[in-house]
């Protein structure tokens, strides 16, 4: 489960592409991706996304995230962060490159095969996207639907154990006392934590968070970031988080990844990224 076997026919890397380069020299992952340890949960190789209008949103991006690691992606608007997330979850089909999770390349899949391969991957968006008229518990249980694709679950029936697990996830995010409350009555921070619990109900290996604190006040943002940090450190999830708050990023991330115009600007341990690096990253758009 932890190994990341490569599929020879599917990626430029395995086809022997001479243009493939290490992620970034001097990073914790210097060297070719296929030499990475077995605890790599997400490997993005040479990811390129070119839109029909000719705009290149991502250009040869490489990224590997290990179990228990929290990576924060920084970059100004239009740097390709959201495109990267969409490519990883399979909402966008990249022009080139691969996205490997649990040994399967999502970039080559579609339809039911993509749905199945995506199961170890959970996404939290800027908005919690809860079903507001349903209870908090029912929303968390929705995370299990991908594992029980039966008519019964479509009618609202789930194994008893899943309800118990869902309550456990709510306890983990500190909202067990709100299990029976309507999701529409929650505050932004609470709703986002329920979204995290729903993601946990998926039993993911990789947790993606696309600007999860963008619409939250500082206190709620801190709470959500603490939770993501804990899920990485204690539960061993590989967490990739897109943020626009460099201070939060420096405080909670193991590694910081900087994107500038679809290209990796840096990928280093958070302690090695200075304020100046970040300032240069954001100024780069104007340069």
């Amino acid at each position: 489960m932890n190994t990341l076997p490569t599929s020879p026919s599917s990626t430029p890397l395995e086809r022997g592409s001479a243009s493939f380069s290490p992620i970034v020299a001097g990073t914790p992952y210097s060297g070719h991706l296929h030499t990475l340890g077995s605890d790599v949960k997400l490997a993005v190789r040479n990811l390129t996304m070119r839109y029909a209008n000719g705009h290149t949103a991502l250009n040869g991006l490489n990224l590997a995230v290990r179990a228990g690691e929290m990576v924060v992606v920084l970059g100004s608007n239009g740097s390709g962060k959201s495109t990267m997330m969409k490519c990883i979850v399979g909402l966008n089909r990249p022009t080139a490159g691969s996205v490997e999770i649990a040994g399967r390349d999502l970039a080559t899949l579609s339809g039911p095969a993509l749905r199945r391969a995506r199961l170890p991957l959970a996404l939290i968006s800027q908005h919690a996207n809860l079903v507001k008229r349903r209870s908090v518990l029912a929303n968390v249980c929705c995370g299990t639907l991908g594992r029980y694709r039966t008519l019964g679950t479509a009618l609202g029936m789930l194994p008893r154990a899943e309800f118990d697990h869902a309550l456990g996830y709510l306890d983990e995010v500190g909202l067990l006392h709100l299990a029976t409350q309507r999701a529409g009555t929650l505050s932004g921070g609470q709703a986002q934590r329920v979204a995290v619990a729903r993601a946990l109900a998926q039993h993911p290996h990789v947790l993606l968070a696309d600007e999860p604190v963008a619409s939250l006040d500082p206190e709620a943002a801190d709470e959500v970031m603490r939770l993501l940090r804990r899920l990485a450190s204690e539960d061993g999830l590989a967490v990739v988080c897109v943020l626009h708050q460099p201070d939060l990023a420096s405080r909670y991330a193991d590694r910081l990844v900087g994107l500038r115009r679809g290209v990796l600007a840096f990928d280093r341990p958070a302690a090695q990224v200075s304020h100046e690096d970040i300032a240069r990253l954001y100024a780069g758009l104007d340069a």
Binding site: A122, R149, A154, G156
Partner: protein, 269 residues
């Protein structure tokens, strides 16, 4: 908001004052011309209202007092009228919902199904319920059943269109979130789409019941049962006191349905 107004104002001010006046005058002339042609085509004769007033007064005097003793004999037609509306609304909702799923651009499973559903909704909506009733009377004979079928078919069109619009306007966030968890189409439908739109659909359904009750009164005029049929019979037999009684019943029914559906809508919305 003020920015929007500013943009609108600047767009308007691109026209010179002279051209703006010409546009306004031209618009008024077109509207007047439309109204005049409508006046001519409908052969409007307001004076006839005055000369015919005594005839109206005569009928009203003959309709008084209302024949309240007709209450018991008309209980069944009243029940028929209500049941026509119930049947038409329930079947309308049951058939319109799946059709609306197919006809909503954001959740339809396939483009050809979308066009087919839209076409079906268009046809059932375009043909008035009275015409559907005439067709069904020809097919299944006189009585309340053809009326109920007419209301159901017409409701499918009306509700299908409104349901589809509600679904198209819904927040797609939960749908996307559930899709990304690996949930199937049916699961997404039942866990995200239905809970998201259900209150609006129930509200529209209740409003449709109210509409169907009014329509069922008229459908009786073409032999589809209910109070309408009794009303037509009483008028043909010059039983104006019965007519006035049935009109009172009609008013009471419509008022009750209006209040009832408004209350239920306020509960479910």
């Amino acid at each position: 908001m003020s920015k929007v107004f500013a943009v609108e104002a600047s767009a308007v001010s691109k026209l010179s004052p002279r051209r703006r006046t010409l546009c306004t005058v031209g618009g008024v002339i077109v509207l007047l011309a439309l109204f005049v042609q409508a006046w001519i085509v409908v052969q409007a004769r307001p004076q006839d209202l005055i000369t015919g007033a005594h005839g109206m007064a005569d009928i009203i005097s003959r309709a008084m007092p209302p024949a309240f003793d007709q209450f018991v004999p008309n209980l069944r037609p009243v029940l028929e009228t209500i049941d026509l509306a119930i049947f038409g609304t329930v079947f309308g909702i049951l058939l319109a919902f799946p059709l609306a799923i197919l006809a909503a651009a954001n959740v339809t499973p396939a483009r050809p199904l979308y066009y087919a559903a839209r076409a079906l909704i268009g046809v059932t909506r375009a043909v008035p319920d009275l015409v559907w009733a005439l067709l069904f009377v020809t097919a299944v004979g006189l009585g309340p059943f053809p009326g109920a079928l007419a209301l159901a078919v017409h409701s499918v069109g009306m509700l299908g269109r409104l349901f589809a619009e509600v679904i198209e306007d819904m927040d797609m966030g939960p749908v996307e979130a559930l899709t990304l968890t690996g949930a199937g189409r049916l699961q997404v439908l039942s866990h995200a789409v239905v809970p998201g739109v259900l209150p609006s659909l129930l509200g529209i359904g209740l409003f449709r019941f109210d509409e169907n009750l009014r329509s069922s009164l008229v459908l009786g005029f073409v032999g589809a049962g209910g109070i309408g049929f009794q009303l037509l019979t009483a008028m043909n037999l010059f039983q104006y006191q019965t007519v006035s009684f049935l009109l009172i019943i009609t008013f009471a029914l419509v008022a009750c349905a209006e209040r009832g559906s408004a209350y239920l809508r306020s509960v479910v919305m």
